[in-house]
Amino acid sequence: MKYTFKIFRFDPVQDGRPCFQDYPYESREKRTILEALMDIRNEQDATLSFRYSCREAVCGSCGMVINGRPELACRTMVDSLDSPFIILEPLPNMEIQKDLVVDMEPFWKALGDVHPYLIGEGKPPEKEHRIEDKEMVKIERFTNCILCACCYAACPVVTRDARYVGPIALAKLYRFVQDPRDARSFADWAKVNTETGIWGCDTIFACNEACPKDVQPGHGIEALRRKFVIERLKKMLRLRK
């Protein structure tokens, strides 16, 4: 089957403006977009830049916009798009470093700002914490996240306000505050009680739609909001007493 790949090209160091470049491509059955990109790079144009690593949708390197949707190039079959034209663009909401490669620093920084790590109690138990599987299942969805930034790229709030931490940072925060082993205080995590934190979300859930791993970060944001309100109420009731 013959395809035309229309690929976004831009090198901010030497190009005045971006353009789309056409590459003809003859695909065998079950060829992925990533494999096609590698073929095009090897055979047609070695200056074409894109990120990749695992080729099995677990490392999160190859997020890009494929025919209008944020997706992982490695898990998208060329023939699944039902179109002779394959349009590839870099993920939005981040600066372009070159072609399909974007600068993910703002994404990592937003993530880092919510302290996305387990803060255990002073002295851990001698062996493992005893936790029922059903507790782990509650956070499993969020531990499946591969941090590919497809949700960040799809989020209209990030587009509007670069200070918004974005869907997965909040969902990851929820993963930790929901973890029975985490000892961070309410005061600590309630710092996201802002317009650039939990209240920034428009709840249109473009993130859930864009997520290639069914993490549904939007549900994490909603759960975090609920948890925040409940904790707040509890505090107020305690004060009343």
Partner: protein, 565 residues
């Protein structure tokens, strides 16, 4: 010049583990060719071994039994002191990971769940569904954020700088800018992973070129036991994505085209849970006898496990099958074939991760301590990376603290940078030639066809000739891209000579070793020969040529015996 006390190269599990264990009083940085979360460790699926004795069927398990299984699995080529150290440390290591937040699957009652794995006497593989590597990399990365570890991402280390038998730092090719510059260090730890992409069929990530091992070799550090290449029995046909051993640990069957569980003919008591070398050979044998499908694959059948168990325990496997080959393992058996998966061999280091080059350490798949000997057991590689990564971080810290404070020479770093710039310049100056990927494809074909699961003198000798021919032809290589920014072609050309080195060392070791041991199966020497070959292969680079020598295996209380399963 950028300078650090300890430079860790590689942001996978071994590198992150080393970063977290390095002394907090020292200036430590991690250099990685990709963002650490893109490292190949994330692709590990099935689990990590430790004799926690949590599983009701594993209550008699001990670290000593884990060590015995590891040593027997290694076909007695593991150094027994190292294997014992790893298995003993496994238990506190798992608890530490759990305390860091690793979301392990649980047993009723809340203990960490453990599943059966190949070559193990008890169910001792701790897991998080079939995403164990993924969650462990994320956990260690999270903790390194907490500790403010310094990362330099998308920097490729292209060379080691060495002076008077001491490592002075590294030469960097910066992927984002295409620039070349040195980074000075008082100690360097390589945690650069394996070389799967030297083979055509591999479960490894596209980035696993193995250049780290080649860099150490070119810097004068010998490579150990490189002929021992693990072929994973079950990689998805046709793209060779890993189908975890946990699929068999959870009860999956291997079936040939007669519908028979053929492992009965090869390992009647362990069946599908024999060690990987044995299962991979069995599958390859069935396919060559015409008992496969399309002369390419056999089936991994999970259908009898039921949807609930598959969805709970093997969700990622199911997702991969559905997405990449369009089948649902709940109702359809999975087509699988063996593929290169892991390197038992690597940079020759001692039990502290130290090499013969002062200030140069290595850990994880790129290193060979050796704990895996001639065949690694499933679930022991994640363990190896975390245990020996940690040890290497501590050992490098001790090394740096023991140094006097005098300034270190920058001469080899400046020379290395100049040489690399000239090399890239020369490759770019050519207007025509042959692109690297053509050479790479030739190399991969040679390795997959002639240095695979079954080996012969004839094939190996032909492979060696072929590899040397590719090296000769490489004079025609050129860099077609005028732009070095995010230029994978430049990365490939810088790594390719190291890949040739690795292929040569693997093949030479395999040609010389006239016996069968673990993953190294010689059709012309089908027996293990403890008298002649119970020894480690060492290959050192002298004047650009491989020099082979041998070193005794550290035996212990386990005397080599026949390896029956």
């Amino acid at each position: 010049m950028i300078s650090h006390d300890i430079l860790i190269v590689g942001g996978g599990l071994a590198g992150l583990s080393a970063a977290l264990s390095s002394s907090s009083g020292l200036d430590v940085a991690v250099i990685s060719r990709v963002h650490p979360l893109r490292s190949h460790s994330i692709a590990a699926q099935g689990g990590i071994n430790a004799a926690l004795a949590n599983n009701p069927k594993g209550q008699d398990d001990t670290w000593e039994k884990h060590a015995f299984d590891t040593i027997k699995g290694s076909d007695y080529l593991a150094d027994q002191d190292a294997a014992e150290l790893m298995c003993q440390k496994a238990i506190p290591t798992i608890y530490e990971l759990e305390h860091m937040g690793a979301p392990f699957s649980r047993l009723p009652g809340g203990l960490i769940a453990q599943r059966p794995f190949g070559g193990a006497g008890f169910p001792r593989t701790c897991y998080a569904a079939d995403r164990t590597g993924h969650v462990l990399v994320h956990t260690l990365f999270e903790q390194s954020l907490r500790k403010n570890v310094k990362f330099y991402n998308e920097w490729l280390v292209a060379e080691l700088a060495v002076e008077n038998g001491t490592c002075r730092g590294v030469t960097i090719f910066d992927l984002a800018t295409g620039e070349v510059f040195p980074v000075k260090a008082r100690a360097v730890i390589f945690a650069t992973g394996g070389y799967g992409r030297v083979y055509l069929r591999t479960t490894n990530a596209f980035i696993n070129h193995g250049s780290g091992i080649g860099i150490a070799y070119r810097a004068g550090v010998p490579l150990k036991d490189m002929e021992f290449v693990q072929f994973h029995p079950t990689s998805l046909f046709p793209n060779n994505i890993l189908m975890t051993e946990a699929a068999r640990g959870e009860g999956g069957y291997l079936l040939n085209n007669l519908g028979k569980r053929f492992m009965a003919d090869y390992a009647p008591s362990a069946m599908e849970l024999a060690p990987r070398d044995i299962v991979a050979r069995a599958i390859q044998t069935e396919i060559s006898r015409g008992n496969g499908f399309a002369n390419e694959y056999v089936l991994l059948d999970l259908t009898h496990l039921g949807a609930a168990k598959i969805i709970k325990r093997l969700p990622a496997i199911r997702e991969i099958c559905m997405r990449f080959v369009g089948i649902d393992p709940v109702v359809t058996p999975i087509p699988i074939q063996p593929a290169q998966h892991y390197s038992m061999g690597g940079i020759d280091v001692d039990i502290l991760g130290a090499s013969c080059l002062a200030g140069f350490f290595a850990a994880g798949e790129c290193a060979c301590v050796s704990v895996h000997g001639a065949n690694r057991l499933g679930g022991n590689s994640l363990l190896d990376t975390i245990v020996f990564g940690k040890i290497a971080g501590e050992a490098a810290s001790d090394f740096v603290k023991g140094l006097d404070r005098e300034g270190r020479g920058e001469r080899p770093l400046l020379d290395g940078t100049k040489k690399l710039k000239e090399k890239i310049g020369a490759l770019q100056k050519k207007d025509s030639g042959i692109k690297t990927h053509h050479f790479l494809n030739r190399l991969k074909l040679i390795m997959s066809e002639k240095v695979g699961v079954f080996r012969t003198q004839k094939d190996l000798a032909e492979a060696l000739d072929g590899i040397r021919q590719v090296r000769e032809d490489l004079k025609d290589v050129y860099l077609s891209s005028p732009n070095l920014r995010f230029c994978q072609e430049a990365v490939n050309v810088l790594e390719f000579e190291y890949m040739l080195d690795l292929a040569e060392v693997i093949t030479l070791g395999a040609l010389n070793r006239e016996e069968t041991r673990g993953s190294h199966y010689r059709l012309d020497f089908p027996e293990r020969d403890d008298k002649g070959w119970l020894k480690h292969t060492l290959v050192a680079c002298q004047d650009g040529k491989p020099q082979i020598s041998y070193k005794d295996v550290k035996l212990g209380k386990h005397k080599p015996q026949a390896r029956l399963y």
